[in-house]
Symmetry: C2
Subunit: 390 residues, 2 copies
C-alpha cells in the first residue's frame, strides 16, 4: 500500500428536499450574496431555479447570476464570472447543475482572489494560494466535481481542455437530491454512468497490486453503477437508482477509491482531446477511450484485469488462461457501454484514421509528454491506442 | 435510501513516517503549544514519544502533557486535562494513542471553552457550541475515533460509560502509520478487529433494506478485516495487514458505512455496561454482545442476515431455508471471534445469571429506556438477550 493523504471535507446533504434549504445553509455560514452559476434553461424549466431564489429570499440573501455554462465549459465565461463576482461584491459561489457549472464556479473561485490570469493555474504557471468557497446543488450524477478537488476547463485559445487539482477546489458543501436528476435525458444519464465508472477505473486498474479495502470499495462502486445505471435509464424517476448513481458519482471522485494506489487518468487525457476538438460528451469520449486503452495494455497486468472481470462483471475465472478472463472483462465493459447507448469506437462519432496523428499529438502536447502507466505512453503509443478505437 | 448528511472533514496522513512530521503539521496551521494526551508507557517504550517531542522541538513548538489515560477512560483525568490545558495556555490537543487517548482529548476539547461541567454534554444537559481541535497520532486500529464524531467517556460517579456525537469531536487531522501498531499484543489487535467489525455491523444489520452502495462498502470492510485480522495477529509486523486494519478502522466509524441507513449501536450499549462494570475490554464486550443480540432478533430480518452470511462469510445461500443461512452467518461470526481469541459468552469473563438483572437495568437506565431496533428493546428484552450470552 502506498502512503496517501486523504481529505474530503465537503459536507454532503443527501436526499429529498435539501435544495429548499439552500438559503439558510448559506446564511448560517455567514454568507450574504452568492453568485449563482448554471447552464442553460433546464433548471428554469424544472422549477429548481425558482426554488433556489425563493429559498435565498426567505433567508434574506441577495444574489448575482452567471447563466449559460455549456458542457465542456469555456474559460471566457469563467472570466466573465470572475468580473461579475467582483463587481457584484459576492461572497460565495453557488453552482446549480453538473460538472460544467461546478467547474466553472471553481475556476471563478480561484480567479477572484488572484491578480493574474486564472489560466496560469491550469497551464502550470502558478499555484493557487486562496479560493472563494464553492457550494453546489447537483443535478447530474457524473463528474463527481461536487466533492472532488478537480476542475476542468477549456481554453478557447487552442481549444485546450485541462484539469487542475487543488485543495481550494473542494466544495464547502453539496446538496444532492436524486429527484433533481429525474429530468436528465437517457444519453446524459449514460454519459454519467461511464464517467463515474471511469473515475473509479482510472484508480483501480493501476499499479501496485491489490490494496484490498480500496479495491473492494472500488468494486462495490462499479457493481452498483452497473446495476442501477440501466434502471435509471429505463425508469428516469426511479428514486433508488438515481440515488445510488448520485452517491456513487461523489465517492468515485472524492479520492476514496484511490487510497493507497497510484492513479493514472490516461483515458481522461484521451477523452479530453476528443471533447475539446469534436465536442464529444465527456462520458462518451471515455467510453471510446477505455476499451482501446485496456486492450493495448492489459497484458502488463493480467491478474488485475482478471480480478476486475471476475469481481465486477461476474466472469468465470479461467485459471489455465487468465488472459482470457482479462479480455472477457474488457469485452463486458464495452458491451455494457454499448448497451446503454454509448459510442465505443471513434467511427461511432465519425472520426477516422486521418485524425489519429493530430489527436495523438494533442494528447502528448505535440509529442513532448510521456505518461507513465503500465507502459510509458508517448505520441506513438497513443496513436496505437487510438487505432484500436477505430 | 434515507436522507443523510455526510461530513468527514478529518485530514488523514496515512503511511510510513508521517509521525516525524507532527511538529511541522501543527506549526503550518498556526499552533504553538499542543497538550499531548497519551496512555501508559507503551509510547515511551516504542520510542514514539521521543519521536514526537523531537519533531515538536524541531518545529519550534512547546508542549504540555497529560499521560496515564486508561482503557475505558475516566472523566476525572479528562477534567485534569481541561485544567492543565488552560493553565498551560495550550492551543491544540494532540492525542498519541488509540480510542481512549483520542476520546480523552475530545472531552478536553469540548471542556476547555465551556464554563460548566463537561459531563453536561454526555448526560444531555447541554450541547457543545465550540471545541478546541484534536489532532491524532494513532497507535491502535480499533475505535475509529481518529475520524469519528464520537467520544466515549466513563464517569466514575456511578461508573456511567456514555458516548457523545458532536461535529466538534471530529479530529482536525490524524496521522496513521501502520508500523506504529506492530507492538500491539494479539489480544488488543483482536479487540480492535471486533470493534471495527461492530462499528460496521451496527450500521449494516439495520432497517431499511438494501442500500446497495453503502451495503457493498460495508461488506468490503468486513471482508477485509476478516482476511487481515488473523494475519496481523499471527504476524504483528505485517505491514499490509496492519495497514488494511488501520484504514478499515477509520472508514468503519467515519459514517461512510451508514450512509442512507439507520444505525442502532445496540451492541455498543450492552458492551459499554460490561466495560463500565467489569472493566471488560471494549472489543471483547462486543464479541460477547453480538452473537446474543443477533440470535435474539435475526428473525425480524432474515433476508438481511442471509445477505450478510453469503456476502461476508461466503456461506451458501439456502434458498429453501434462508433462516438456516442467516444462522450460519451468525455462527461464522461467533466462530471467527473465538478463533482470534475473543470471549463470546458472559461465562468466558466470569459473569453468570445473577448479574443479568442489574446489567439489563443499567443498559436501560434503570428500565426507563427502550431502544428501537427490529424489536423495541427495554429492560426485559435486554435480559433475554443477555441470557442468550450466558
Amino acid at each position: 500500500m502506498n502512503n496517501f493523504i486523504y481529505h474530503s471535507p465537503t459536507k454532503v446533504y443527501f436526499g429529498r428536499g435539501y435544495e429548499t434549504k439552500i438559503g439558510s445553509l448559506l446564511a448560517e455560514r455567514g454568507f450574504r450574496k452568492p453568485l449563482i452559476v448554471y447552464g442553460g434553461g433546464s433548471i428554469k424549466r424544472s422549477g429548481l431555479y425558482d426554488t433556489v431564489l425563493a429559498s435565498l429570499k426567505e433567508a434574506g440573501l441577495s444574489w448575482a447570476e452567471l447563466g449559460g455554462v455549456q458542457p465542456n465549459p469555456l474559460l471566457a465565461l469563467a472570466k466573465e464570472g470572475i468580473a461579475r463576482f467582483r463587481a457584484e461584491q459576492c461572497d460565495v459561489l453557488l453552482a446549480v447543475g453538473g460538472g460544467s457549472a461546478i467547474d466553472t464556479a471553481k475556476v471563478i473561485g480561484l480567479g477572484v482572489p488572484y491578480d493574474g490570469d486564472v489560466w496560469d493555474f491550469w497551464c502550470g504557471k502558478a499555484t493557487p494560494k486562496a479560493g472563494i468557497p464553492t457550494t453546489v446543488i447537483l443535478t447530474i450524477a457524473a463528474a463527481g466535481s461536487e466533492t472532488s478537488q478537480s476542475a476542468v476547463i477549456t481554453n478557447e485559445d487552442g481549444m485546450l481542455k485541462r484539469g487542475l487539482n487543488s485543495e481550494f477546489n473542494r466544495p464547502l458543501f453539496s446538496i444532492m437530491n436524486p429527484e433533481l436528476t429525474y429530468t436528465l435525458p437517457a444519453y446524459q444519464t449514460a454519459c454519467g454512468v461511464v464517467d463515474i465508472m471511469m473515475h473509479t477505473l482510472e484508480r483501480y486498474l493501476t499499479l501496485p497490486g491489490e490494496v484490498e479495502l480500496t479495491d473492494r470499495i472500488a468494486e462495490s462502486l462499479l457493481k452498483t453503477v452497473r446495476t442501477y445505471g440501466p434502471i435509471a435509464i429505463a425508469q428516469p424517476d426511479h428514486y433508488e437508482a438515481r440515488a445510488e448513481l448520485m452517491w456513487a458519482g461523489s465517492l468515485s471522485h472524492n479520492d476514496l477509491t484511490g487510497c493507497g494506489r497510484a492513479s493514472i487518468f490516461i483515458n481522461h487525457k484521451i477523452g479530453h482531446e476528443l471533447s475539446a476538438k469534436y465536442g464529444t460528451a465527456h462520458g462518451a469520449s471515455l467510453a471510446i477511450a477505455f476499451p482501446a486503452w485496456a486492450k493495448y495494455c492489459y497484458r502488463s497486468n493480467i491478474p488485475r484485469f482478471a480480478q476486475y472481470a471476475v469481481r465486477v462483471w461476474g466472469c468465470e475465472m479461467d485459471y489455465a488462461k487468465p488472459e482470457a478472463t482479462a479480455l472477457a472483462g474488457i469485452a463486458a465493459t464495452e458491451d455494457f457501454f454499448r448497451s446503454i447507448g454509448m459510442p465505443v469506437r471513434l467511427s461511432d462519432i465519425g472520426i477516422g484514421e486521418a485524425e489519429i496523428d493530430d489527436l495523438a499529438s494533442r494528447i502528448t502536447a505535440g509529442g513532448k509528454n510521456v505518461i507513465e502507466t503500465y507502459i510509458p505512453c508517448g505520441k506513438q503509443e497513443f496513436a496505437e491506442i487510438l487505432r484500436l478505437a477505430l
